[in-house]
Subunit: 124 residues, 2 copies
Amino acid sequence: MSRALLVVAHGSRREASNDEVRALSALMAEKAGNDYDMVRTAFLELAEPLIPDGIEQCIRDGADEVVVMPYFLSAGRHVAKDIPEEVAPKQAQYPGKKIRIAPYLGAADGIAELMLSMSQKGSE
Amino acid sequence: MSRALLVVAHGSRREASNDEVRALSALMAEKAGNDYDMVRTAFLELAEPLIPDGIEQCIRDGADEVVVMPYFLSAGRHVAKDIPEEVAPKQAQYPGKKIRIAPYLGAADGIAELMLSMSQKGSE
């Protein structure tokens, strides 16, 4: 059983922002331990790979399960509608694979503690 | 010494998204313990209060120190330029108060762990 985590961000015209997400995914891959065999990045728009291509790459690299994790802070249209619409065709295409969407980051219980901890750090 | 934490989000035309941020601030206020005497919310645009008004309210309510915490995931123009430009006039107006900007959420070391933990939860 090979498991992939696909971090999905909005995507930006500013490539440095896309690279920030890719760096986060790389850090997550280091920390994932046995939870995931690969951690990849995809974007809803404006950057590559797009979500369907990101899922496709995970499957080509051997993933039996792909967890799509929205790197979003609020439950807006992107999280509620756009991301599921990008994922659905891949779920239909690969009925033998487990492809699911995890809750978005902003829904995490730990955000409040993380914000409080971060607020104690120096200004930048 | 009264300390205020001002959570600053972008602001959305979708009021439910703004309310999500207000709910986060309320949760942070519960968890803040002795670190902050008040936790408030402000928005860069599209929702109220705007950042200068948010700072003003903290000071009117007795804050000697206001920590402005950007609830943003990437270090784009909003974090690098727009938020500091909104904060600067208040810093100039209140030289006796300590008004500083904390690092933005996306820069937090704990984001990777939080994402990994969140990814294990059920889909929604």
